[in-house]
Amino acid sequence: MENTVIKAENVSKKYCRSLKHVMLYGVHDIARNTLGLSSQSERLRDGEFWAVDDVSFEVKRGETLGIIGPNGSGKSTMLKLINGIFMPDKGRIEIKGRVGALIEVGAGFHPMLNGRENIYVNGAILGMSKKEIDKKFDEIVDFADIGEFIDAPVKHYSSGMVVRLGFAIAVHCEPDILLVDEVLAVGDVGFQNKCFNKVGELRKKGVTTILVSHNMHIISAFTINALVLNNSRATYFDSVVDAIKEYTNIFIDKQDSDIEKVCNGTDGIKFFDVAIDRRIFKPGESFVFSAKYEASVDYSDTEIDVGIYCGGDSSLYFQANNKAYNQRIDIKKGIHSLKITIKDIRINNAVAKIGIAIWAKDRTNLLFWWRIPVEFKGVDHSTGRNFLNLLYEIGD
């Protein structure tokens, strides 16, 4: 208990679908509260529904908790509840220390003021005193790294710059608890790395972190335990691997177990005798795809994409392409066969799709595209995390 920093007990939050009801219920609740009566928030009224339903969990000092779930499952609402922007309608949340939120960084910026002025305003909104901001000012400017734009009005910033400055202020307010929503996905690769390093640095200092993301790679790499939200309800997992398994399971029902034959050839080429050697994998196993084709013309220098997709929105997880390996593939006129092998896939417990696409030169024409539902079973205990296997040798 001593070390528990965030404690949520049976937390529920309701939303209302129609704007008319929002106004009506708003006035009703306020009137009741003014008379000292409870708003009876535990009851659902016409048009209301639970956006977060009976969620309980604890996070200890220095831990990182991942929150994953499909779109609309209540992740952002949960973050807003922890941040205190929304009050729970049932249950209670106990928070120890200052909360820093990387939810919508830069929300408090005034477009007419320049970067410097906005650092002071936004810092004050996030609860920093002028002395604190003075002390951190150079660090913030350094971190944001937006050059001379620091003296330009924020309305002239690119969206990336707004995020950089907003993020820089938010991470420098010395939070005890850091809430990270998908923001890290914004900004270029250089800045993303900087952000991850900074978040890592804060975690080392004992900052408790909650990470919300659709990117299972990020979740798997950064968190140890995770909360899976689905239809407003939550399940807590001690192991992020199990959580990701649960998350991908959510999509099993929605996922068509049939192969999606998006494209099976064109006028110039037809594919037949397509075969896949397996649909269920253990970590380290390989995937072999074989097919025959009959081409009436030559397709020189084709491109073949192999992707692994996870989650309901089938967001890309890993992708490989022959061009990246400087492999030239020419398709010759006549009947030939084709075999593609992906070796040593190490993805822990997940439901996914393997996509194979064949393009004519310079991607001018799609010749073939199948998406094949597969399942990864078991855990690679050497890492406990998800990785594509990197084969390399180091010589003397």
Partner: protein
Amino acid sequence: MKTENVTVYSPDRILKIGLVAVWKELFLSLLKSRELIWRLFLRDFSAKYRQSLLGVLWAVLNPLITVGIFVFLNKSGVFNIGSIDVPYPAFALVGLTVWALFATGLTVSSNSIVAAGAMVTKINFPKSSLVIASMGQAVVEFMVRLCLTIIVFVIYGIVPAWTAVLLPLAAIPVFLLTLGMGFFLALLTGIFRDTVHVVVLFTTFLLFLVPVLYPIPDSGLFAAVNAFNPLSHLIVGFRDLVFLGKLSSPAGYFGSCLFSLVVFLFFWRFFQIVEPKIAERV
């Protein structure tokens, strides 16, 4: 290890903590957010006149033009205010000075939460700071007009009564009344956007109903209506301190001061009750 504040979020928490704790929390949070209020005020002030040619000059031009119009109307006989002992521009400016505190204050404060936009729904901070900080604009306008008034007094060679030094004090009840109403209207605007239009109508109408630009007639319906209007008492009292050297209706004036204080305290507390619901209702 540093001591950490424990924050608890639960439904209707603010209704359950008891009367003493409620007011303690109100004052503590005001104390804690004074820096934020100052920053927000500076932000509004410096952003207001950016990208304009005349800049801060507008703060002076606005009241000058308003008074100019009424002086013109008075001189041309369209607007007859009856007899007063002092030059009309001086008389009108004193009224318009204290009026600015109320009218500008009411307009900006009722708009303050909606105008803050995404900030309200995305960041957790004391929202009352937005309303209080917006009142800063009204205070600035009040002070600019006060300086103008002094200049006009010098030009006309009018010597005000010694009680004029009490003017800053007399501004306080007007400020509290406006802020109190502002707390309420800011929330109302959050739920019903119509409020903004109503406030504009209301203040325009009130400018003529309240004796800002003319003295209260001694008798008649108008005198009776004003006798029960706290704002009238506060404005007349303000002007009495300049021209009369004493309050013409002390009972009415102090009663109105008390009324202002009650309005402020009530709606301050009201705001605290509603504050947790703002983010989801705006």
